[in-house]
Amino acid sequence: MEIALLFLPLIASITSGFFGKFIGDRSSEIITSFFVSISALLSLILFYQVIVNNYENNVVVASWINSGSLNVNWSIKVDALSSVMLVVVTLVSALVHIYSIGYMSHDPHKPRFMAYLSLFTFAMLTLVTSDNFLQLFFGWEGVGLCSYFLIGFWFKKDSANAAAIKAFVVNRVGDFGLVLGIFLIFHLFGTVNYSEVFQQIPQIIDKDLLFLGIHIEAIDLICILLFIGAMGKSAQIFLHTWLPDAMEGPTPVSALIHAATMVTAGVFLVVRCSPIFEYSPLTLNIITVVGMTTAFFAATVALVQTDIKKIIAYSTCSQLGYMFFAAGVGAYNVAMFHLFTHAFFKALLFLGSGSIIHSFKDEQNINQMGAVYKKLPYTWILMIVGTLALTGFPFLSGFYSKDAIIEFAYLKGNTAGYYAAGVGVFTALLTSIYSWRLIFKTFHGTYNNNKMKIEEIHESPIVMLVPLILLAIGAIFAGFLFKDLFISHESANHFWGDSIKFLKPLNSDHPPLWIILITPTLVLLSIPVAYYLFIKNKELPNQFSQSNRPLYNFLVNKWYFDELYNIVFIQSSKKIGLFFWKTVDIKIIDKFGPDGVSSLIKNLSLRASKFQSGFIYQYAFMILIGLSALLTFLILY
């Protein structure tokens, strides 16, 4: 069952990718969607077994590397953690596959698109089911590659190509950290298999390492390096710049890769490595700080963006920050819970926005929309469900997971924890405001689009709405249904078992009532506030932004990260590159190397030809000269 689960997407991908031309667009779409759906069903069955029977298994598919002490297998590790990921990945993937049939209906390269989606699914599955760091890395790079393919899917658009390259390069920075981390693990433990590594972790707690001239504890170094990898993949602050640009890809891609699955790989890595991270309080604090900064930063930027997909992208970034600081305060299960619920409502939001974009014929600017809720009733309702879930409206999924994060952060009891909880609450408020801004600007107010008449707007086809409805069901009920399973105090031992390690049991105190109440209250209050700001009194936000021009610019320009990186990294490396190319390579190496030698020989050859004058006396003279030269040489020698 596990093998079928894992390889069905691969088969689908190969079929559609290599034989798409022969079997036709429609068959490619059906085959990929069907296979991935079966995969999703299988993973649901597996998840059920894990819940009910505490099923655990490690299927070794093949031996991969067997060299000296390095033994690495291709394997499918099934436990609580990976089964959650399997459900998220295959379910969202299956829905996105189906949705894409409608969304990509006007695209000429459907089989290629479906093949990439399925391939991505396969890579993501190998990532989450790995039982060692190497296979994890394989999946890690695999999803990165597919992400590159899919961001740049519309390869005729320059901006798409640039975004794809940017995503790849920024991820490379993170991957470098991950690779170093894996190297270090192999160096210290001589193995890269999770179980063996985790077992040996307590033995190296006090081990010091000299790294870049700094003495650092080995365990801290491993964790920091791994976390750098996670930061790259999960678009945490400093390495987040690729995620908003990645919205150049088709919207289903954004929903699948850049909201629900791939970007959560970093969170998964941290949770999977909880047996390591638990021993490194330093890194956990770093994770908390980075996570909460990202959450706050992304939320502020999302406030002023006008591109519907970019708003949701920053929202994703922000929610990933929540997950990280949950992990940072030691509540790995809560992080996973938020990951789980987030997958539903964020995929819903993305696919919903895709539906809007589709209706508006590829318009993404929310200032160009408005007043269409009657035209797009289903999309409107579904988007509101997604928004409510995202903002943490009581009893929807986001409510349970996000509040749990804030509570656990508060309960952590240290400075970072309190700080994180505070930021978490404030960010929740911001989240609510920007989300409702999106809804009001898109569906309400006045119609602002000059390119097409409002009569032309029409609801998306049923094939796109069904996945939305299914996701909406998940967004509504996932939190309520699974909260006990994921984050109740018994679950730590019962459900999660060995897949997550808690060095100290989680704090079982109840947080004060005001902490529990403050977030929902703020969220509820923000709805009328947003309504007032963006519908009733539109001048107010404009006036505010006019009077606080620097702040507004700061946010619109995304805290100037891109500009900063452009100056620090891109310009400088370009200069270095130009120097090596123009000066070192062309003027020195080429000039004295290949070019110089070849022109020298050409020159000599011309002279040699001229030397051959055709006059017999000259030839005779040469013979005599040669003779005399040899004689002279021998006599002197």
Binding site: I601, S605, L606, Q612, Y619, M622, I623, A629, L631, L634
Partner: protein
Amino acid sequence: MINLNFISAEIFISVSIMFLLILGVFKKNSSSLIHNLSIGLLLITGILILNNYPDKSLTFFANSYIIDTLSSLMKIFTVIGGALVLSISKKYLKISNIFLIEYPILILCSILGMMVMISSNDLIVFYIGLELQSLALYVLASFNRDQLKSSESGLKYFVLSALSSGLLLYGCSLIYGFSESTNFNIIGNALKSTHYGLTFGIVFILVGLAFKISAVPFHMWAPDVYEGSPTSVTLFFATVPKVAALTVFIRFLYVPFINMIDQWQPIIIFLSIASMIFGAIAAIGQNNLKRLVAYSSIGHIGYTLAGLSVATNEGIQASIIYISIYMVMNLGLFSCLFMMKRNDQFFETIEDLSGLSKNHPILSLSFLVILFSLAGIPPLAGFFAKFYIFKSVIEQSMYFLAIVGLLSTVIAAFYYLKIIKVIYFDKEKEKYDTDHSTWLKVSLAISTLLILLYFIFPSKIVEIVSSVTII
């Protein structure tokens, strides 16, 4: 009583020459007959040599004539080379209006001269052989006497060769003066001092010989003569006399001058390096294929000289293998040149090859194989030829020579590859004729296959050549 069996080949060929001459004079329109007969007679000569293949060295006529494995092997190469040259150039001669009875007879004469040279163990016998082959070659070079270029090249060759013969003779007389003998073995025993007179003698003789094999800086005649002579004669020049001259070179260096190795070794190394570099560089600027072959042969002679300079049996054997493979490659290359004919006119510049692959795929493929082999690209025969040479050079720790050799191989590869590029990637031209003689086709096929398949049976060749031990 002298056992004349061992020199039956020389006797046979002398008698044949006279017979063919008389036949040609008395029978009208006998060019074709004499041409075919010559080929047959040459093959019979080859069989005679093979039949009397010696196991040890024998000397005749008061030690002035020697038959050993070296001489017999090289004679076989010479004779077979001569026969092949005659057989593939028949059509060319007919078209160029020089299909006369004298042509094969002159070639036979020069081959007889070479055989005498190869077997000589005495300065005077050697000189007689040399002059016999040279005189025939002068005539051959200017054989197409109605053409200005051909007569010019014959005259140039004659004058310069006379100069070099003069130097050679002067050297011989000096050697005779110091050793009181013309016999190689006696000279070898007598030459032990490092007297300047002896040095002069050696240098004069070596310069004379270097001229014959066109080593730099005594090569100046080669490009002009190669270009001016009829193509079939150029082919003969580029292959057969080289074999003979190389044998003489070996004989001189390792029999009479064996004790003077300190004196001649730097000269040979210098000639070798100069030839390799100059051959590679000067050929790049050439446009005429025959001229290019001249420079290429200068370069190849550089490699054979490198083998000679190491003063070991392995080096000598490597040189012999090199010159035989070189002969095969040149036969193939000229077979290709003979095929570049349109409306009874032959073409010989690189531009004429442009886009050849479109109309003549098989011919182009042979060209490709031969040129790759000349450039020394594995696994073709040319690679092994160079490989043996470099191996023997490096075994004697002569690294400088090896490095220069390798570098010049790289440079030389350029002009061979340039021709391939022209054949395969340039714009196609008009088709060439395809009515080639069977002999020409067979010769091209065989030489290409030999080059291509050499790597299957290298040990056989090495085994045959390894019986040649001089030192």
